[in-house]
């Protein structure tokens, strides 16, 4: 590409982005939106959340990054779903899209919908179309999030009591101060760190494991229906990780919530999740129950991921490694994104991106290799 062409291309991108930004800002400025615009129906009332062809794009100066490109899955009430993938595969962006925390106007939901079941209100809303005022009522109340790094999640200049009570006070404006404090102590008890004077401590006075417990307490303080845990134990040691995972499992049953667990650690997923979604370069390559994924992995990427992790108690001379790197998210190819790293390629892989096909009622995979298996079964 000559310098002139390059310049021309960048100019086009800029123009395109400006248009997208303008649309976004216009939408953001609207104070009110009619209910009919965002209230929808769930496909299945048993689900707490349904992702339907979600597309989240980032309009950057060097091109559009399709961080999440047509992702569909659902989470059943009271179940845990694990989203696995390498860094940059779009798993965190999916969760940020749910929370409406995308860094706009660069990052925005470009298509599809996220239907959230408001069980208490007996209705469902489309989070992608929800106006900001409505969003504030849901965020931290019905959906809450646990982030990876507990030190950066907590504000170092406020006591943990302040931070815990802020969330409760915000979502229960009529609550008395005394009751709020009682509720804060109650949540601390739930996560197992209630002590005298605990509310007056600052985050730096706590250890990493305790900080993560405070973050979990904050997330649970309003009895959410859906907890999004984005790598909740990655920054912690294995012994502390075991404590936190145990705690999450216990609490989920206690308040009957669903968990969307985002992680790159297959071990954590195997232990926690009922359903597993495997993502690669912004798309779902395989999804199914934990049993499907761990005992009958179908996509070459899933198989490679499992093989490349050394297992305790097993000895291999050489680790299997998936060759190459994750593709550049700008200008992704037409064919299967995994093609260049795949060792089981067939001629058909040159063609269009493979559709998700069902291997069983729960197990879906997007790979041409498995097409025959479906036909064989029918």
């Amino acid at each position: 590409m000559t310098a002139k062409e390059q310049k021309q291309r960048l100019k086009e991108i800029k123009k395109f982005n400006a248009k997208k930004y303008k649309e976004y800002n216009k939408n953001q400025r609207r104070k009110r939106a009619p209910e009919s615009e965002y209230v929808t129906k769930m496909a299945d009332n048993d689900n707490i959340i349904e992702f339907d062809d979600l597309k989240t794009y980032f309009y950057t100066d060097i091109g559009t990054v399709k961080a999440v490109d047509g992702v569909s899955f659902e989470i059943k009430r009271g179940k845990t779903i694990g989203v696995v993938g390498e860094s940059g595969c779009g798993k965190s962006v999916t969760s940020l899209s749910v929370m409406g925390l995308l860094q706009g106007p660069t990052g925005q939901v470009a298509g599809g919908s996220i239907r959230f079941n408001q069980v208490g209100k007996n209705r469902a809303v489309d989070l992608t179309k929800l106006p900001v005022k409505e969003y504030e009522k849901i965020r931290g109340n019905e959906i809450s999030m646990i982030f990876q790094e507990p030190m950066t999640t907590l504000n170092p200049v406020f006591t943990i009591g302040d931070q815990l009570m802020e969330c409760i006070a915000l979502h229960n404006p009529n609550m008395k101060k005394k009751d709020i404090e009682a509720r804060a102590l109650e949540t601390l008890e739930m996560v197992g760190i209630k002590r005298d004077g605990m509310l007056d401590l600052y985050p730096h006075e706590l250890s990493g494991g305790m900080r993560q417990r405070v973050v979990i307490a904050m997330a649970l303080s309003c009895n959410p229906q859906l907890i999004i845990a984005d790598e909740p134990t990655t920054a912690l040691d294995v012994t502390i990780q075991a404590q936190i995972l145990d705690l999450l499992r216990e609490l989920k049953d206690k308040i009957n919530a669903s968990i969307m667990l985002i992680t790159h650690d297959l071990g954590v997923v195997a232990e926690m999740a009922d359903y597993v979604v495997v993502m690669y370069a912004g798309r779902i390559v395989e999804q199914g129950t934990a049993d499907d994924i761990f005992h009958h992995p179908a996509h070459p990427y899933t198989i490679g991921l499992m093989k490349s992790k050394p297992m305790l108690g097993e000895h291999v001379d050489r680790l299997y490694s998936i060759p190459g790197n994750v593709p550049n998210p700008i200008n992704l190819p037409e064919h299967c994104y995994f093609k260049n790293r795949c060792e089981m390629c067939v001629d058909k892989c040159e063609g269009a991106y493979p559709e998700l096909i069902s291997l069983s009622e729960t197990h879906k995979v997007s790979c041409y290799l498995r097409e025959n298996e479906v036909k064989g079964e029918n």
């Binding site: 860094s87 790159h264 071990g267 195997a270 999740a273 490694s321």
Partner: protein, 325 residues
């Protein structure tokens, strides 16, 4: 027994960091990061050092290379007494001992091209004559799986895995015998992790390298190490061959640590030993056995008396009162 060649032989290594406070910066106490550790590594072996964060494993690695001055103890590497070397002498022996750091994003100078990153020390130490310099760098890069045209590129153009390859190339360029690898794969994705581990194993075979492999990921340590040391709060609690330690962990802490590792199989329900609470502060460690505050098999003696290191046969040592008899 024939004579075994130990590349690293250290006894009673201690590193205390002073805690200073007040206007006059008086020392009011010490953080006992490494508190009397013996470590021996055979030539061509990999010694895996595991433990929770804050247990002093990184400090030990750095102290061995004298990147930080030890407070006490003897360290000998390649038969040289490291603690007695003067500055200029230390500089001369540095090429034979190198380090690979955890974060490949912060350990590479963003303003230097790859060739210069790898080659700077080669030139400084005069490893090869100036005429062969470029060919030498290219050869090292090839060994580490880097393409020749990367030589003039800058670190930001590379992915995490490739950057870690650059870090490895930088360490290898000096023909070291001993490399301290401080969590070299922790910052990488699983599929890239496997590539880097394989590369490190290949290089070890080719060049007869000795590694001190520091990691908190037990499955990785098990895969790569010949010998394993488990550290807790500045002390080595258990030490032995990888097979011995994994097949028959003796110290209660080692058992708890191993049982905490999640297994990638939903059918396996672990018999988990959950440790209560957090690791105590190394500035004020518990009396007696340091682990007694969290130990499920704690006895009266554990609270008062520091357990001695006992050899349970085959070089498997453990420091615990449970094995007194």
């Amino acid at each position: 027994m024939s004579e075994i060649n130990y590349v690293v032989d250290a006894k009673g290594v201690k590193k205390y960091f002073p805690i200073k406070s007040g206007l006059l910066q008086k020392t009011i106490g010490h953080v006992r990061a490494v508190d009397g550790v013996d470590i021996r590594i055979k030539e061509g072996e990999t010694f895996g050092l595991v433990g929770e964060s804050g247990c002093g494993k990184s400090t030990l690695g750095r102290t061995l290379l004298r990147l930080i001055e030890p407070t006490e103890g003897q360290i000998s590497i390649n038969g040289m007494d490291m603690t007695k070397l003067k500055r200029e002498e230390l500089r001369k022996v540095r090429p034979s001992m190198q380090m690979i750091f955890q974060d490949p994003f912060s350990s590479l100078d963003p303003r230097m091209p790859v060739g210069e990153i790898i080659g700077e020390a080669v030139r400084e130490h005069g490893i090869v004559p100036a005429s062969e310099y470029r060919d030498y760098i290219l050869k090292i890069m090839e060994d580490c799986g880097l393409r020749p045209y990367y030589i003039d590129r800058y670190p930001h153009e590379f992915s995490g895995g490739q950057r870690q390859r650059i870090c490895i190339a930088r360490a290898l360029a000096l023909n070291p015998k001993f490399i301290v690898c401080d969590e070299p794969v922790s910052a990488l994705d699983v599929s890239i992790q496997a590539q880097i581990i394989n590369l490190m194993e290949e290089l070890q075979e080719k060049r007869n390298l000795t590694y001190l492999f520091i990691s908190h990921d037990l499955s990785v340590v098990q895969h790569i190490s010949d010998t394993i040391g488990v550290m807790y709060l500045g002390s080595m609690v258990e030490n032995g061959s990888t097979e011995d330690i994994f097949a028959n962990p003796l110290h209660p802490y080692t058992k708890a640590l191993f049982s905490a590792v999640p297994i990638a199989d939903p059918d396996v329900k672990m018999n988990r030993i959950l440790l209560e609470g957090d690791i105590p502060s190394p500035a004020n460690p518990p009396s007696g056995c340091k682990f007694h505050t969290r130990c499920s098999q704690c006895m009266e003696i554990c609270k008062n008396k520091v357990p001695e290191v006992k050899d349970m046969g085959n070089g498997h040592t453990v420091a615990c009162h449970l094995y007194n008899n």
